[in-house]
């Protein structure tokens, strides 16, 4: 795929939807890409929202980090592209 196209947003744009699943804000969370090992904030991930769900890709290697599909009364979350996600429990939400 070409990486020069700018049809992505970033992790900030998925934060609202993810807030319905996670108690802690994910944009400031650090995640490691399972493909290239880059560790970045989730806000920095490239986000694709054209399909029926949301796909977050690594900003370094474009490997899929997370997929989220919202179907009536059920949310499907695939995070196999992330080795880990490190969330700040001391973070003040406001």
């Amino acid at each position: 795929m070409t990486l020069a196209t700018y049809d992505h947003l970033d992790g900030n744009a998925a934060a609202g939807e993810l807030s319905s699943i996670f108690a802690i804000d994910v944009t400031a969370a650090e995640g490691q890409c399972a493909n290239c090992g880059a560790t970045k904030r989730f806000a920095e991930a490239h986000l694709y929202m054209h399909g029926p769900g949301v796909v977050a890709r690594c900003a370094v290697c474009e490997h899929v980090l997370l997929r989220l599909v919202n179907a009536r009364h059920r949310v499907f979350l695939d995070v196999r592209g992330l080795t880990y996600l490190s969330l700040d429990t001391a973070q003040v939400q406001v």
């Binding site: 700018y6 049809d7 900030n12 744009a13 934060a15 609202g16 804000d25 806000a43 929202m49 406001v94």
Partner: protein, 243 residues
Amino acid sequence: MWRVGTVVALRDETATARTITLEVPDWPGHAAGQHVDLQLTAPDGYSAVRSYSIASAPNSQKRIELTVERLPNGEVSPYLTQEVAVGDHLELRGPIGGWFVWRAQQTEPIQLIAGGSGIVPLMAMIRSRASAGSSAPFRLLYSVREPEAVFYRDELEVLAHHDDSVSIDYAYTRASPRNWPRPPARIDAALIASATWPSNLFPTFYICGPTSFVETAAGLLSANGNSPDKIKTERFGPTGERK
């Protein structure tokens, strides 16, 4: 969790952008830079969710301001900028996002870089700085199509003349005022060099705008020796509506 806000005021910023003031009784407060998701539901049950940045500074009132730019083929923004009326109820989720935020405890130099309506969350930071009595040096580079497209023009004008530690540079992409030194153009290395804090001051950057704008600005800043850790970005979609 969805909350209900009541529209209490409407103000036109430009010919195509409007600021909506919402009163949200259970609003928990917010930080400058955060956004909300608005959900509009049609009578037939079809609903659409869009993200909008909060323009107002954190305050103790249960009020927030959103500035919405009307997009020609938008599904939600034409309604928000043309049809919504004082007294209407809007469903919202938020405040959202803990990364693209500026907090009053930050004392380092701040460089804000806005592309078009990307000014909105950065304006919340500028307003927050003022309301918190912060003396952090702020600098804004505002890239905008033409002078008529500038949001918050009068407020920025006052700031630029009365507050020595907020400096503002405009860059026009399509039409500039008469005798403007720089011909209309997109941001480039020369502009970044002349209108942003140098890397040796270790500023924190907040860049908000369309994806191509953000990528260009962030790339130029990295090339100038700024650490990627100090560059925070938020991208608007190709349509400007983030979702």
